[in-house]
Amino acid sequence: MVFKKLIKELGLNISEEQISEIMGHLQQRYPDGEDPWGLNLKQAESTLKVVWPLYKHYFKTRIFGQENVADEPYIIISNHSGQIAIDGMLISTAFASEIKPPRILRSMVDRFFTALPWIATAAAGGGAVLGDRQNGHNLLTRGQSILAFPEGVTGVAKSTKDYYELQKFTHGFLRMALSTRTKILPLAVVGCEEIFPWVYQAKGLSKFLGTPALPISPLYLPLPSPVDIHIGQPIELPEGLSADAPDREIEVYVQQVKKEIQYLIEQGLQKRRPFFANQKGNI
């Protein structure tokens, strides 16, 4: 409440016109205000109101390549970064507020996440879903767009030396795309790594403690690094390749998607705005 009031006082909130336009579209899309995955439009609206000032004024997010997004479902594949998956939140906000028509991306989250009290319900209310192939298939066949990070936790939980280097991609997204014939939309987020610029991931200790990651850093406060979202052109699916093809055949196309995202990252790094954490050349 205090946060909301402060944001309003400072004039940083999303305008009433914009929010009513967005919610008008979403209301048509989800007339019941809820869906089987736990989406709740009221919750989504209040989340958007809270996140938008951070998106626009704290991370000063810019979006490139909106023209590549048509009014159809996609599997949006992105690099993962930022230690606490802020990238997912910013991409979802971009697609809800700056892409026409606005849409709720169904971010696929890890299993441990869906058991967390309050957090799981709030995330589901905003559109997040369990990262499960059956779930993805059902969403895509119902015309929803999903957001997946094929690097998984290893992508988000990197040490500084590995920033902007794509980790191993899993194959599930391509199999989902093939089984539903949904286009893949490659996307790169640049600027999120600098939110926590100095991190060492204690992988051995994290494994011993059974935690998904264990970042050691002198700084645990997210810095206001400017973030850019680069949307690439949709990738057409290979003809004749089955969703149940062996891994070696799937891997060829997974690598193509990975290369496309790596290219978008490199382009994005050249365009990124100066921020003290990216000035020393180490990130």
Binding site: D32, G33, E34, D35, P36, W37, G38, N40, R111, T114, A115, P117, W118, A120, T121, G125, V129, L130, D132, Q134, N135, N138
Partner: protein, 322 residues
């Protein structure tokens, strides 16, 4: 009428609300058929006095139950008599329920085969899938039955379903068997744990979770049970509407006040309630935290898309009328 293949129908669990409605619809739809209804409990309402329905209070495991099959040529058997955790049942301990539900189901199936019943329809439940945090939405019939992983008190539900499905495949050339796994059935005549939970004021809801639900009105469920007789071939079918609603929204529709508390306190508050009056079964708390949404495509492919007359909000509102 002479062409009707199912002239004499046995309904097991006839004292239940759903069995009552199903019997009425069967009689309306197929005038001239004979229905024998049995239950271990006393009859409820006036359905059992209707022309065409004969009610017998009987224990399913006794010799008299076999005599019933021997003395009557049943063409179809509805097994709607699974014992639940309801307070109406005298045999409410886990061991008794496990024993009775499993022995009873096996006995019904054996007798049906022995006495040349043409079709057996078994009412299982979506609870067999379990309410788990990592459930995807739209669980299909071949998804694993994980209900008893955490809660042994759900063993009877899962094992009864498995007895029926194993039986189905083993005897598919000899007898038609349909296993239905419906989502939550609600209505003025349904007295299950969920309807009691929904309609009791100030029951606890999880402040930190809000699972999605699929509700079926009792009339719609009874209509599907009736259609199963002719229109569904042997198999396992989920029964659920397309519509979903969150638990908190359902309580709002019912206009029933709730007590929101964090889920970790729910176990303790439930134990307190147990000491005072009615409490929720232990396993049920997970159904208040996590969703278990089932897929209805298989059923719709056989019965058509418009299966449900009542919208979710209507069904909830009507269930309040008693």
């Amino acid at each position: 009428m002479s062409s009707e293949p199912y002239k004499h129908i046995l309904i097991i669990g006839m004292a239940g609300g759903l069995a009552n409605i199903t019997a009425k619809i069967l009689l309306m739809k197929f005038p001239g058929i004979k229905i024998t209804g049995v239950d271990q409990r006393s009859p409820r309402g006036n359905t059992t006095q209707m022309e065409g329905i004969e009610f017998k209070k009987i224990r399913y495991t006794r010799g008299s139950f076999e005599r019933l099959f021997r003395d009557n040529q049943f063409d179809a058997v509805y097994h709607l008599g699974r014992l639940t955790h309801g307070k109406d049942h005298l045999l409410s301990s886990m061991e008794d329920r496990l024993d009775l539900n499993l022995i009873e189901t096996k006995r019904i199936l054996d007798l049906s085969l022995k006495f040349n019943v043409k079709k057996v329809i078994i009412l299982s439940t979506y609870h067999v899938y379990g309410a788990l945090h990592d459930n995807p939405a739209f669980l299909q019939e071949d998804n694993p039955l994980r209900a008893s992983i955490k809660y042994p008190e759900l063993r009877d539900v899962v094992e009864m379903d498995q007895i029926a499905t194993n039986w189905l495949w083993k005897n598919q050339r000899k007898i038609e068997t349909v296993v239905l796994r419906p989502a939550t059935i609600i209505g003025p005549q349904i007295k299950n744990t969920m309807t009691r939970y929904l309609l009791t004021p100030y029951m606890s809801v999880c402040a930190d979770f809000n699972p999605m639900y699929q509700f079926i009105h009792e009339f719609d469920m009874a209509s599907i049970l009736t259609r199963t007789l002719h229109d569904l071939s042997s198999g396992i079918y989920n029964v659920a509407p397309d519509e979903c609603i969150s638990l908190k929204e359902a309580k709002k529709v019912l206009n029933i006040p709730t007590t929101p508390i964090p889920s970790f306190l729910l176990k303790f508050s439930n134990r307190l309630a147990q000491a005072m009056a009615w409490s929720l079964p232990r396993y049920f708390i997970d159904y208040l935290k996590y969703s278990c949404i089932i897929d209805n495509e298989l059923l719709k492919s056989q019965l058509g898309p418009d299966l449900f007359r009542y919208k979710t909000k209507e069904a909830l509102t009507i269930s309040k009328l008693d």
